[in-house]
């Protein structure tokens, strides 16, 4: 989705103001690190600034026109002096950085400026980051780097110290909810979507996604089974869960949803019903909230977060889910 300068300025006023000033004063840094949660518009801002650097007819000296040849080619990924590196599979390989380096040992194709944008920079392998480091250290004149990440801490400190770090603030859930409702999302569903993503377009897509609707039902069902008949939970995993949550991304989403249920229970206990997200399940959750304690909920939540971490470290998904279900079963802690 294409977003103009003004639209992005509404989302990230501080970041855009800084960029605007550096453009106007001609003090664009050689490397930027954009850090912020998923859907906060990091890539859009990166592309926008790239356009501003290449645009032939800037509006007011900093806004790209979005209509000239260079702007359009950057948008479609066809500009020969703009290089975008995405993770190849699970990580960014050292070969990708090497080919970037050979590319940058040459002069530009059309201009003297060159831009590279590395999305998910935290997914660089160790050798890739070290290889990049050399490259960040001695930038060629006219080269601008954009590194995008959701997890700042996972980058090498030596990389961080060489970049200008810009933090992208997540959209406040309330604002997001309001926007979602304005875009025709049912008010009962809006809080859940707002919790899961910061990107309006993604939220709208999820809203109509068949898989996501089914996923919600399965997660709620899993929780109920755990509550009512813990022994059946393992069976339920086999019959419903694994057939629906196949990819790693999907399991992450499932765990996020599960986490939100426990968060809701906590909110009910703290008497903050207005912050609940599973509004449709309100009645049932109230019942469950009466039967558990705050301490227990927080233990269960940390078990889910632990499971998410293990999934990221490539644990077998089936074993991970089974271990999680055993941990979530109340009263017994034999694993």
């Amino acid at each position: 989705m294409e977003k103009t300068w003004d639209q992005l300025e509404e989302l990230q006023p501080t970041v855009l103001k800084m960029l605007k000033n550096s453009l106007l004063k001609n003090r664009v840094a050689h490397a930027y690190l954009f850090e912020g949660m998923r859907g906060t518009g990091k890539k859009e801002v990166g592309l926008l600034l790239t356009k501003a650097l290449f645009c032939e007819s800037l509006i007011e000296g900093y806004k790209p026109c979005e209509t000239c040849n260079n702007c359009r080619r950057i948008q479609s990924g066809n500009h020969p002096d703009v290089h975008i590196v995405e993770p190849d599979g699970l990580s960014i390989k050292v070969d990708q950085i090497r080919s970037l380096q050979t590319e940058f040992s040459k002069k530009g194709v059309e201009s003297l400026k060159k831009v590279y944008l590395i999305s998910h920079a935290d997914k660089m392998s160790v050798s890739a980051s070290n290889s990049l480091l050399k490259f960040l250290e001695e930038p060629n004149p006219g080269t601008v780097a954009f590194l995008l990440t959701e997890q700042l801490q996972q980058l090498l400190p030596t990389i961080l110290s060489r970049c200008q770090i810009l933090t992208f603030k997540p959209l406040a859930p309330k604002v997001m909810m309001k926007q979602l409702v304005e875009n025709g999302v049912a008010p009962v569903k809006a809080p859940l979507l707002a919790q899961l993503t910061n990107n309006l377009d993604e939220a709208l897509k999820l809203n109509v996604d068949e898989w996501f609707a089914q996923a919600q039902k399965i997660v709620v069902k899993l929780y109920e089974v755990l509550k009512k008949n813990p022994l059946e939970a393992m069976v339920m995993l086999q019959s419903d869960w694994f057939s629906h949550f196949k990819e790693k991304e999907q399991i992450h989403r499932g765990l996020d949803l599960l986490l939100l249920i426990f968060k809701d229970l906590l909110y009910i206990q703290l008497d903050k019903q207005e912050q609940m997200v599973f509004i449709e399940e309100d009645e049932r959750l109230r019942q469950f909230a009466l039967q558990t304690s705050g301490r227990r909920i927080s233990d269960q939540m940390s078990a889910i977060l632990e499971a998410k971490r293990k999934l990221q470290a490539n644990m077998n998904p089936q074993l991970m889910m089974e271990q999680l279900v055993l941990k979530l079963q109340e009263g017994s802690s034999f694993v």
Partner: protein
């Protein structure tokens, strides 16, 4: 865009530009060939962003009509499919028409292809040729110069600038220098320029290799234009663009020794064959090293010793030896590369000590020079 074209000319041009197209590219539009029709003819362009090749098919050649332009315009078509299609079309004439929304129809005889094109506006812009900034050189001379220098470029990426050949233009003379920091090749030639400007650029070795393959071995002049980012070679109906390397080439003039302590003149072929034979055993060893020593009676001994395999000794008669006696070791591969690049039946090798680089030149020819660093042995 709509035009009718002779198939054999189109196939030839597509083959030429396909040499620049690779499937391994991050820029989607570069998987395509750009076809532009103007009132003068049809231009095909292929590129992998490092090199770009443009082939022009004129409307008429020697009185024969080759292209009939019905409507001008431009389109980018997937190179993989387009090249296969034109090769296998049934008849001698091909009609290419672009309908609205980038749909392209290719007709020949009774067969008809519909290809989805890409917007030609998205294709990289190649530098425009400025007629007053060019210089000429005979094609076969250019090819020789490339052949005599580009083998010496570095293959390691640790110093990217050394993967290119340094071209200097000073006082109407073109100087090509390539080095990988163990050896150096230098070639000079007079050129004709229009505006006597000086240039100093570094051209990637790979690009020159490609250029050498694509241009014909004739003595017609080829035009060369150097722009800020790219160098352009213009042969008849064919344009070859290459990107330049970023950075400054090291100053090599101080590396070449001026005086010499020992000067040897030998027959090139005999010397080359002796080195080749000695390297047969040396190749088994670590560095492909052969030993060169001057023995009494104006002879040279080439030897190589690999204890686990065996040893080889060969004596060759030199034409003249001046100066001190000497024992020196060097890489047989570098020496053979250098000797193969030199022209002339006799060569002159001048040494300045066993630990100093030595220079090989053909006899009575100052335009070419090869420099090799010796290997330290005990």
């Amino acid at each position: 865009m709509k035009f009718i074209i002779q198939r054999d000319r189109l196939v030839q041009s597509v083959q030429d530009v396909m040499k620049a197209v690779t499937s391994r590219t991050t820029i989607p539009i570069l998987t395509g060939i750009k076809i532009a029709a103007t009132s003068e003819g049809v231009t095909l362009t292929g590129s992998d962003s490092d090199i770009s090749i443009e082939s022009f098919i004129p409307k008429e050649d020697a009185g024969h009509e080759i292209v009939e332009i019905k409507q001008s315009g431009a389109i980018v078509l997937q190179a993989k499919f387009f090249s296969e299609i034109v090769k296998k079309l049934p008849t001698d004439s091909v009609e290419i028409e672009v309908l609205g929304s980038l749909q392209t129809v290719i007709r020949s005889g009774k067969s008809e292809f519909n290809l989805n094109g890409l917007d030609a506006e998205e294709y990289p812009h190649l530098p425009q040729i400025e007629e007053n900034n060019k210089f000429h050189i005979a094609t076969d001379l250019l090819k020789a110069m490339i052949r005599q220098t580009h083998f010496a470029v570095s293959t390691s990426e640790t110093r990217p600038i050394l993967t290119g050949v340094n071209w200097k233009i000073e006082n109407d003379e073109l100087i090509c220098i390539a080095t990988d920091s163990h050896r150096l090749a230098l070639r000079k030639a007079k050129i004709e320029t229009d505006n006597h400007e000086n240039y100093n650029v570094v051209i990637p070795g790979k690009s020159l290799n490609e250029l050498n393959k694509i241009i014909d071995d004739t003595n017609e002049p080829i035009d060369i234009v150097i722009t800020e980012n790219q160098i352009l070679f213009k042969a008849k109906h064919l344009l070859f663009f290459s990107r330049l390397l970023e950075g400054n080439y090291p100053d090599t003039s101080r590396l070449i020794p001026n005086e010499s302590k020992t000067a040897v003149t030998v027959n090139t072929k005999e010397f080359l064959h002796a080195i080749d034979r000695a390297s047969l055993l040396a190749r088994e060893g670590r560095n492909n090293v052969v030993k060169f020593s001057i023995i009494e009676g104006g002879s040279i001994e080439i030897s190589s010793n690999t204890p686990e395999v065996g040893k080889v000794v060969e004596e060759i008669q030199s034409q003249s030896i001046e100066g001190e006696d000497l024992k020196i070791s060097f890489s047989a591969k570098y020496m053979m590369d250098a000797l193969k690049a030199l022209e002339g039946t006799d060569i002159n090798v001048s040494f300045t000590g066993a630990m100093r680089p030595f220079v090989i030149r053909p006899l009575h020819d100052e335009t070419i020079l090869q420099l090799i660093l010796p290997v330290r042995t005990y």
